[in-house]
């Protein structure tokens, strides 16, 4: 009986680790293969998909940076992502403040409607987004992407920021009111600083979304002045389609900011996901 149980639990442990290692491989091997390939020469790539490079071909990275104005697109992406985070957090924290800390008629309805936005399939709106942006003269502008991305992230941010602000004890605000803080000071001096953690979570989601977004950037921009790195690795590398190694290096470079953000802020991201059904 005891031997049977032991065999059973050994089998269960084996099964368990097979599952865990399989999904570890799914998450990491394609990326590892990508990084490996980015250090091989094109000749080595042709020879075998698994061979190690004779020496790391750093020139792939030099070629990637030299090709197709990649640095310009990279800077565009940084501007768009940072701008999105700033604009979204500004408007979401203002709305979150009155949704969480003020009592008024219709508050719960407004909050529910804003949050229900996460269920809307944005890709169904390609036509109105395009026509609206063109009509307003915003086509092919860097700040248009900031505006659109900040707007698309409103439902997620409102959910995260409002929930966080609601959890701040009333006493802290009351003390500030006694000290003579008015409406604006309660927002800027009390609630905003106390919500830092929630804002960082919402901001991280915004950053990763804005850095990775592709469809709207493809739809709403056309020139090098406003295109982002995602469009760059998608379209601009195709000019050099025979240089697969350089393309792999460009992809690795394009992934760095969001991967770095995740490395430093993954606890915030997981906390945010845990707080609600938020698309990562």
């Amino acid at each position: 009986m005891r031997a049977k149980n032991k065999a059973l639990s050994l089998g269960a442990g084996l099964l368990k680790w097979t599952v865990l290692l399989f999904f570890l491989a799914v998450a990491l091997l394609p990326l590892a293969w990508l990084v490996l390939n980015s250090f091989k020469t094109n000749l080595e790539l042709q020879a075998s998909p698994f061979s190690l490079p004779a020496r790391p071909a750093f020139e792939n990275y030099a070629n990637a940076i030299a090709m197709a104005e990649l640095p310009r697109l990279f800077v565009n992406s940084v501007l768009v992502a940072v701008g999105t985070v700033f604009l979204n957090l500004l408007v979401s924290s203002m709305a979150g403040f009155v949704l969480a800390r003020e009592a008024w008629k219709g508050r719960d309805t407004v909050r529910t409607v804003l949050e229900a936005g996460v269920l809307v399939p944005i890709i169904a709106f390609m036509v109105p987004y395009f026509t609206l942006v063109t009509k307003l003269g915003l086509y092919d502008k860097l700040y248009t992407l900031i505006l659109v991305y900040a707007a698309i992230n409103i439902p997620v941010s409102i959910f995260l920021v409002t929930s966080f602000m609601r959890s701040i004890p009333k006493e802290l605000e009351e003390a500030a009111i006694i000290d003579g803080c008015g409406f604006f000071q309660r927002y800027s001096k009390v609630i905003l600083p106390l919500s830092r953690s929630g804002l960082v979570t919402a901001g991280t989601f915004c950053f990763i979304y804005a850095w990775n977004e592709f469809v709207m950037a493809m739809l709403l921009t056309s020139s090098i002045h406003s295109r982002t790195i995602q469009l760059g690795i998608r379209f601009f590398t195709s000019q050099f389609i025979t240089d697969y190694a350089g393309m792999f290096a460009a992809i690795v470079l394009s992934m760095l900011p969001s991967v770095l953000a995740y490395v430093f802020l993954h606890n915030k991201i997981i906390a945010g996901l845990t707080a609600g059904a938020v698309k990562g």
Partner: protein, 294 residues
């Protein structure tokens, strides 16, 4: 309950205004616009001419669009009934806190922070018949190389496979819920002599019902709106074998058939809503927003 008028009413309106303006411009207006445009004949310039439901008849009679709907349904089923169960399996294992579970949780979610463009390019390369890793594996096993994405027979399964294997997002939602289940329940079951497997089936899964329904609902809703990875990997081909409603919408828009594209958008929204409402009716009422954190 009658609320007194808040003395800060004006300031409240001021603070809400930016969010409401952006929401109106990028959620409410597009919604109304899409429905309105779907009932017209319109090519992006000039006035819209009302034609009723003609665009819908045309779309639903169109072989390609019907194939797109079918492919979205396949995506939804694969996401709801393969991706989510796999996520549940991994979440149940991690909830028992095996060695390194926190690191595993973090790594499983890593692909979710990488752009679809980058992942699609990596997977396109992996499926490549000349230098791809999958054919490299087949050659090691003595099998012939295949053009996975270029063959209508294998393209859809190939694209779906890379999608459903990324379980990180749903795994984290379900894991969080699993770790909220009171430990005492398991301790009591242990004393009663229940095996681990019995505990999972009698305690964990019933307690997770709400979260699993939420995850399935979201997964299937995402399946119905699937666009990006397929567009990037195959463009909907070969021979439309991987096309989806979103891809069809995009191609119609590109061809300046704006009103038909809008009708495709309406169908996409309606079918997505049907999935969300349908699953919740079928498997029990749960509120996705409130449930996930519980």
């Amino acid at each position: 309950m009658k609320k007194r008028r808040n003395p800060n009413a004006l300031k409240i309106a001021l603070f809400l205004a930016p969010v409401l303006v952006l929401f109106a411009a990028f959620f409410a207006y597009p919604f109304v616009f899409t429905i309105a445009a779907s009932l017209t004949k319109w090519r992006g310039i000039g006035a819209m001419r009302f034609i009723g439901f003609g665009n819908f008849g045309k779309l639903l009679g169109d072989q390609t669009f019907r194939l797109a709907i079918r492919n979205n349904v396949v995506w939804a089923l694969a996401s709801g009934f393969v991706q989510v169960p796999l996520a549940v399996l991994v979440a149940l294992i991690l909830a028992r806190e095996p060695r390194g579970w926190k690191v595993l949780r973090t790594v499983y979610f890593l692909p979710n922070v990488i752009s679809t463009v980058a992942l699609a390019m990596v997977w396109t390369a992996m499926y490549n018949p000349q230098y791809g890793a999958l054919n490299g594996l087949r050659e090691l096993l003595g099998l012939e190389a295949r053009n996975w994405l270029g063959d209508p027979a294998t393209a859809l399964p190939a694209v779906i496979l890379q999608g459903v294997l990324y379980i990180g997002y749903f795994m984290i939602i379900i894991l969080a819920a699993a770790m909220n289940i009171p430990r005492e329940l398991y301790e009591a079951a242990e004393i009663d002599g229940a095996t681990t497997l019995q505990q999972e089936f009698r305690i964990t899964l019933p307690m997770l019902r709400g979260s699993i329904v939420t995850a399935m609902t979201l997964a299937m809703a995402y399946g119905m709106r699937h666009f990006e990875a397929t567009y990037l990997m195959t463009g909907g081909g070969p021979a439309y074998s991987t096309t989806t409603m979103g891809i069809d919408l995009f191609l119609k828009m590109d061809a300046l058939r704006y009103s038909e594209a809008s009708a495709a958008g309406v169908i996409l929204i309606v079918l997505g809503t049907v999935v969300i409402v349908g699953i919740r009716r079928l498997l029990g009422r749960t509120d996705p927003m409130a449930e996930a954190g519980q």
